[in-house]
């Protein structure tokens, strides 16, 4: 064959060339840049402009961040050290680190307590958040509120133990009576718990010193710890309350429906800050003089009610999105109301509601900073009040607010990423 054209052409290749790389312009980063960044004249201009903007932002920000001062005692020393050069005065973060996290009045040798409670929070939350973990861990979750209360507020361990016994006792009575009727079990359980707490009050009084940590008053809570306490407690309380309200709003019993509708509409129609003022200021006029109704508890109740009303509406959306057939299917299987809700309706409705619930949770967590307006020293209150008002640090804005933003971003971004993971896991549409 190779001779066929020997008379007409001078050279015929008789072996394959080795495969070569595609041209540089058609591969890798260069191709991507050609296609995405410089595909036409307007795109090229835009790319160059964007590069310039990014450069100038970084050129301002990086020297400020990297050239920052971390060890001076006040803003004037910062300025002396920097001598006009660009740099942040991050010393305020190192000097006031504990105050930013724990507030001004938490006992200094007790910082390990909220820190430990925070670490345990992950252990307690893990089995709830990740269903593939061993179910036995749920015991930790159940005990966590009592442990965390003891760690953070201190005092004798007898009080949280008695509270726990009350809850367990109430649950036992409930499970005994609920076979007859739900109402009997529900109210019987609450009565039993109250009775145990009432009696427990007399038992715990003489046990003051038993395994006691130094007691810390609620008004001494502060810093990011306060935001975390309010956020975690209110989110975890408002979720069940919100579900109950959403179901109550769909109830066929007019009085329950009316109560739920009025509650939801009233709370949603009032700004949170108004509720906080009521908690802080107005309640003081209604309570008998000398009464000291724990301020954090008042605030927790108000924020929980606020978040529950919103979560109820989100879940109602989920319930409404379920096809009518699901309800009828549950009925046709002979399930009673509680079973139908627990096994068929709520799992689907809650799945639909996840983005909305997370939205409310993130919003709620950030709203906890509003307590700074009723003179509680949460992270924002701490910065606005004591730190910026000290002669040492008055004038350090960017460093402090940037730090606060960073802390909140980390938490909120974490919640958001978890919810996206959960949505992918529960995805059954494929």
């Amino acid at each position: 064959m190779s001779d066929t054209h020997a008379h007409s052409v001078s050279y015929v290749r008789d072996t394959m060339l080795p495969q070569s790389e595609p041209p540089a312009a058609q591969t890798g980063a260069i191709k991507w840049m050609r296609e995405s960044l410089f595909s036409s004249v307007p795109y090229t201009i835009l790319t160059l402009l964007a590069l310039y903007v990014v450069y100038s932002l970084l050129a301002g920000f990086l020297p400020w961040l990297l050239g920052g001062v971390w060890t001076t005692a006040n803003i004037r020393e910062c300025r002396e050290v920097l001598e006009g050069a660009s740099g942040g005065c991050f010393s305020v973060l190192t000097e006031r680190w504990n105050q930013l996290l724990f507030g001004i009045a938490y006992p200094q040798d007790g910082y390990w307590r909220p820190t430990l409670a925070f670490a345990l929070l992950f252990v307690a939350a893990a089995p709830v958040l990740f269903s593939h973990l061993p179910r036995g861990l749920l015991v930790v979750t159940g005990l966590y509120p009592f442990i965390a209360f003891w760690l953070i507020w201190g005092g004798t361990i007898a009080v949280p133990v008695m509270a726990l016994i009350g809850v367990v006792g109430g649950y036992l009575v409930y499970s005994r009576l609920v076979a007859n009727s739900f109402a009997a079990g529900f109210f019987g359980g609450i009565l039993a718990a109250l009775l145990i707490w009432f009696i427990g009050g007399y038992i715990t009084a003489p046990l003051e010193g038993v395994l006691a940590l130094e007691a810390v008053a609620s008004r001494n809570m502060g810093g990011f710890m306060l935001n975390m306490i309010l956020g975690v407690v209110c989110v975890s309380l408002s979720l069940p309350l919100g579900i109950a309200l959403a179901l109550g709003r769909q109830s066929s019993l007019p009085i329950i429906k009316l109560i739920c509708v009025v509650f939801i509409e009233f709370i949603r129609g009032v700004p949170l800050i108004t509720l906080l003022f009521v908690a802080n200021v107005v309640l003081a006029y209604f309570l008998p003089p000398g009464t000291n109704f724990d301020l954090i508890l008042r605030v927790i109740i108000m924020i929980t009610m606020f978040a529950a009303a919103y979560i109820a509406e989100v879940i109602r959306g989920g319930l409404a999105a379920l096809p009518r057939g699901q309800y009828e299917a549950a009925d046709s299987l002979g399930l009673d109301y509680a079973q139908a809700m627990r096994l068929i309706i709520l799992p689907q409705a809650l799945k639909i509601s996840i983005p909305g619930i997370v939205n409310v949770a993130v919003g709620l967590f950030k709203d906890t900073t509003l307590v700074s307006i009723i003179s509680m020293f949460d992270l924002v209150g701490m910065i606005r009040g004591p730190i910026l008002a000290s002669t040492d640090w008055n004038g350090v804005y960017w460093e402090l607010w940037g730090f606060a933003a960073l802390l909140f971003f980390v938490v909120c971004y974490g919640i958001s990423q978890y919810s996206q993971w959960l949505e992918r896991k529960l995805q059954t549409g494929h």
Partner: protein
């Protein structure tokens, strides 16, 4: 956690409800702590340091009262209050006294039912200008642009003042003090006006405070002082005369340095009466004889407190001005101790 907190709160509520609303002085003594309302933070007047220890000009009044009544300047529970919560906290009995740069006005005294026991700082609206402007009096400010917080009495005071002096100005409305600092430093306005103590504190945060001057004119009256609830005159007397003791101590030359020495007796009968070596002033107040001595030892006399927290040696650098003793041409004046 909710149930145990509720449980604890109910217990506390039950216990506390048993206590009757007795006289404040007895309550404070029984409690062993003074609940003193302060601001959540104002430069020089009240702010906690890195150890959570409260310091400042208003805080010193709280400490003096605690020292006089309880014998311990650290037996104070500082309750931070905001402008919105301060009066309810006092009216509801959450705090025994409020020392929170609060202006003494008619409606607060009469309508809100509080008793102002005196004035510990005479503030007023002032002006700050860059030194480079070369202005030495507010009357030279014709045609100037002025940074001013909207919706405040400062705005009205400013309009009145300029109209009265028949000069014109260009207002630059701003929302907060922090924004005002930025605008003023960026040159958006020639003048920044707010309370003089606030101006001084603001100037103290500048990179180059020396490049800015406060003009001598003060165009409004803002007498700041501690206050207590209406109706408990015994307690009001204790707070009033503790403040007066600090003021009189400066006038009579009693300071934290020499109070111990003077307390052993002097030739000046008024000093003796204050320090309890003569007469029975302490007994009349329901306190012991050495109440004023302890109050002065807590953080010094009025002048020492002023110099330590907001005076010219501090970064805030306020001159005594109106707050000098009456003998030095100021308004600080204590009725006689006799």
């Amino acid at each position: 956690m909710k149930k145990s907190v509720l449980f604890g709160a109910l217990t506390v509520a039950g216990l506390a409800a048993g206590a009757s609303a007795a006289a404040t002085l007895d309550d404070v003594k029984a409690r062993g702590k003074l609940n003193c309302g302060v601001t959540t933070g104002l430069v020089g007047f009240a702010a906690p340091d890195a150890n959570g220890e409260w310091n400042g000009f208003d805080v010193a009044v709280c400490r003096a009262v605690a020292a006089a009544v309880l014998g311990d300047a650290s037996a104070v529970e500082f309750i931070p209050t905001t402008g919105k919560t301060r009066f309810t906290a006092l009216a509801s009995g959450e705090i025994d006294m409020l020392a929170r740069n609060t202006t003494w006005t008619f409606s607060r005294d009469v309508d809100l039912k509080f008793t102002f026991v005196g004035v510990n700082y005479y503030d007023g609206q002032g002006f700050m200008v860059p030194k480079a402007l070369g202005v030495s009096s507010a009357k030279d400010l014709d045609g100037a642009t002025v940074c001013i917080q909207t919706g405040t009495t400062t705005e009205l005071n400013l309009a009145d003042y300029f109209r009265k002096n028949n000069i014109s100005y260009e207002p630059v409305p701003i929302e907060t003090n922090a924004e005002a600092q930025q605008q003023y430093l960026a040159g958006a306005c020639d003048v920044y006006t707010t309370d003089a103590s606030g101006l001084a504190a603001t100037r103290a945060t500048f990179e180059a405070p020396g490049d800015h001057v406060l003009l001598p004119e003060i165009i409004s009256k803002e007498p700041l002082g501690p206050l207590v609830r209406h109706g408990d005159d015994d307690w009001a007397d204790v707070v009033r005369w503790t403040l007066n003791a600090l003021i009189a101590a400066e006038e009579l030359g009693i300071s934290s340095a020499n109070v111990a020495e003077l307390a052993s007796g002097t030739n000046n009968p008024e000093v003796n009466r204050i320090l309890g070596t003569e007469g029975t002033l302490g007994e009349m107040l329901g306190l012991d004889a050495e109440w004023a001595k302890r109050a002065i030892m807590a953080s010094g006399n009025y002048g020492e407190i002023f110099e330590k927290n907001i005076g010219e040696a501090t970064p805030i650098g306020l001159a005594r001005g109106l707050n000098a003793q009456w003998t030095d041409g100021g308004l600080i004046y204590s009725p006689p101790f006799r």
